[in-house]
């Protein structure tokens, strides 16, 4: 930490939110830009966070009957063209392979050679290539439902890349399922949206709004798109996961047909759904503070870090031995965690609970105590234990929690800490969730007139141009022209039509026409 300042991250959120985000990523050693335009390098600390996200989501997908498989990276151009809306939606961001070797050019430098008869698109998403395979797998109603997931990299050429949030290449999972009826496919779409919401809230500690997208924000080729939307600390919305009901659109373009029990031939109904490394961006922007990353314990690569303080005139060997035995004792524990009270009664929750050994790091690097403490604060580890001569003598631990100030550390007996570590982690997990939910509630307003809406989204504080107003819950007549006007005037869009919004008589905030339900307006990533 720069001791002349009060925070480890410079600039702070208030000073320059965009730059603060980049600096948190740098200080926590999560990722960095690469030499390839728009492609990021995910560093070990960031990747281990992604591994934890993968482990939990994969468990949830399997608990809901899905199996993993793997499909080609490349999509023949003709496949992309089978679904007109689909290809139109992705045409501007496709990386295209046109050659399959290199050979020496006239000046001796290598140039692409061996031109392909048909160009190959690097998958931006896999509906078309997976659809071609599913057409072979699905013959009869007995083959349905077909519930497949793929963990993969995808490429969408980005003009304004931003690490984790918008990168040319990103890692994700994409679920692709086939059903005999529209109802089954719609249920699947809703089920997976529910899995994403449950994962966001119980594991990432990010409160989300589940809702349907308007036509203009729909996935290219989908009949309907649903998303989970979260409020970041700059009060912009982040679309954190999407689930699409594809109707029979892709079944028709890929010829996914089946014979029903009566022997009739019919097109199937499909869905797709995905979350990506963008989730890490959402996690950073929901919880981090001006001292760096704050990790929800259920996804933290390390739950506890032990920091031996080996000052002069201390019994170094004895302190190290104490730390070693403490680490061993803690590593024998498991951390499962309980959902926050506010969520515990949700009966739609997926019956999957991740349970893993407590992850404990013993930091014996040759560096000053202060330097080490601050490196772990910036990395977001939930609990730090500083262990010096006093702890050794008193059989205690000096506990620092990442959700509290460094000045609020407390001494606990070793036995008490070991007995309560799981509960303390839960307390941090629930505290992060509750804080994020309060933040979202505080910055969400019901707005009923155009004047108020325009005022709400007009920047008030010139010193904080990047901190926005939040979410406006307003009535909308369902017409695209209203969306377009608001987008043009305010750079604000309808993030979603919330699924749990109560039916309510009202009038459209812009047109004054009748409306049955409020939607979420916000600036967004």
């Amino acid at each position: 930490m720069n001791r002349a300042r009060k925070t480890a991250i410079s600039p702070t959120r208030d000073e320059d939110y965009t730059e603060w985000y980049q600096q948190v990523i740098r200080a926590a050693d999560l990722a960095e830009t690469s030499a390839v335009r728009g492609c990021m390098v995910i560093k070990p600390w960031g990747y281990s966070l992604w591994e934890n996200i993968q482990r939990v989501l994969d468990g949830m997908f399997k608990a809901t009957g899905h199996q993993n498989a793997y499909f080609p990276l490349f999509i023949p151009l003709s496949f992309m063209q089978k679904e007109a809306e689909h290809v139109e939606g992705f045409a501007k961001e496709c990386a295209v392979v046109t050659h399959h070797r290199l050979e020496a050019g006239p000046d001796g430098r290598l140039v692409p050679s061996g031109e392909l008869t048909e160009p190959l698109v690097v998958r931006p998403t896999s509906e078309t290539i997976i659809g071609a395979t599913f057409a072979k797998w699905v013959q009869s109603y007995r083959d349905l439902p077909l519930l497949i997931n793929q963990w993969a990299n995808v490429v969408r050429w980005e003009m304004r890349p931003r690490i984790f949030l918008r990168t040319a290449e990103f890692l994700w999972q994409e679920g692709h399922t086939v059903h005999a009826t529209a109802e089954d496919a719609q249920q699947e779409t809703a089920r997976m949206l529910g899995v994403y919401a449950d994962f966001a809230e119980r594991y990432m500690a990010i409160p989300v709004i589940k809702g349907e997208k308007t036509l203009s924000e729909r996935f290219p080729g989908a009949v309907s798109t649903y998303s989970i939307e979260a409020m970041m600390q700059d009060r912009k919305a982040l679309q954190a996961g999407t689930s699409h009901f594809l109707g029979q659109n892709f079944a028709r373009s890929s010829e996914i047909r089946f014979s029903d029990p009566s022997g009739q031939d019919a097109y199937a109904w499909t869905t797709s759904w995905g979350v990506s490394t963008r989730l890490i961006g959402g996690l950073i922007m929901t919880h981090s503070d001006d001292n760096g990353l704050i990790l929800p314990p259920k996804l933290a690569p390390r739950h506890v870090v032990i920091l031996p303080l080996l000052r002069k005139n201390t019994n170094r060997a004895a302190i190290l031995a104490y730390c070693e035995s403490l680490a061993q004792e803690l590593r024998a524990l498991r951390y499962k965690g309980n959902p926050p009270d506010s969520l515990s009664e949700d009966e739609t929750r997926i019956p999957f609970d991740d349970d893993q050994p407590l992850q404990v790091e013993l930091d014996v690097r040759d560096a000053s105590g202060g330097e080490k403490v601050w490196s772990w604060i910036k990395k977001g580890v939930p609990i730090r234990l500083e262990i010096g001569q006093r702890e050794l003598e008193g059989n205690t631990v000096f506990v620092g929690r990442r959700d509290r100030q460094q000045s609020e550390r407390v001494s606990q007996s070793r036995a008490e800490f070991v007995a309560t570590v799981s509960a303390q982690l839960d307390d941090i997990q629930h505290g992060l969730f509750d804080r994020a939910r309060r933040f979202c509630d505080q910055h969400t307003q019901r707005i009923d007139s155009k004047a108020d809406l325009y005022d709400f989204f007009t920047p008030k504080n010139r010193d904080k141009p990047e901190i926005h107003a939040g979410f406006a819950l307003s009535h909308w007549n369902g017409q695209p022209d209203v969306e377009e006007t608001i987008k043009n005037d305010l750079n604000v869009t309808i993030r979603c039509i919330p699924l749990d919004a109560p039916e309510e008589e009202g009038s459209c905030v812009l047109s004054g026409q009748a409306s049955k339900r409020r939607v979420v307006f916000a600036k967004s990533y």
Copy 2:
């Protein structure tokens, strides 16, 4: 099974080995070719096998101090060109991205557009792009060793693709490490070769020969390449994993430099090592028989399948309930497994033991008992339990083991089976390994003259043109011209110079010149 035949797979290994391999993959539902030339679709059963391979190897990598990270899919052409031998080695098989969008051409059809100023190669391997990043990460000797692994897809354009063995796109892991001294890097190269050998033998039940590659088979840009080589059932060699000591070649081309403790600046020493989905091809060709796949229990996606036999006049509900409770009882067990006696004293083994819940499938599909039994035989599940009225009444299970004939099934009391299932799985695991080792031993010969060598590799049996002789252990003078002659004459290469070959005076099998050590000659994949 075709009841007119005696085997479930047609053709048999003896009849047509290549086609048998394809048919085993099809019958076990492991993978299939895709619409994209040379790219495969890995189906759920094949992918779950890959997930198990990943889980164990990942555990071994972490137990040896490595961390995972993720680097870009694309490599700028100029990066590939930095290491001359490297780019020469891969130039003929590079997929090249030249455009970043699609737009409507004159006839309205989409064509590539937005030409890149520098073409991007889809990674065939990542030394150059990772090297560029490592140059930033490594500054001082304190940053070393840097031990990184990546799980990723890579693309090497293949003219003669063969599923799992040679595909244009495949999945793999690639380790990349940086060290302060040549000795450290050489030790790492050897350590990871050891991890691969240990994994192959203890988990895949595939005996392997660890050895060094000759110059002609070296990784492009490496100082030395080591591999594990296994004998398939057609007695050809499969290179199943490689570990490269890269010297300072890539450190120089990527400028990976560090200051040593005395403040002197020096180039670092690097290694790389990888295994891929090719391992699945090796597993299939080592263990499978004319009835389909045989899975080593330690990697099997399911250890036990329970098959209720619901014939007429049986108590269906009671049989199902019996099967359900049996499945529950078995799922509460864990399967860890012990190494075969023949391997248990290897002190170089990595201290990692995978331990997982017993994986049990209850097959309640609406199909005949025979159909279901044979589908699991073809899928290679180690233990099948057929449960009918007799088992229900006797509180027994009717046990079929995949390493024995279907006619050799035995009845066991339920309690005895539950108590011994782990030992039975170990027995299968060790039996597969021992059988494969005997097979390799039987078809390995010490050959000391050119005439004998040429005779050994000359096909004898016109009816089995695809079944070869095996491995010849012969002396070699270390000269490339000898290798070339033998390759041209026999299509046989030196697979490796075994690390554990005893030093022994001899004379080169072709040139008669002095030689200190035998090498392995074989036909190969």
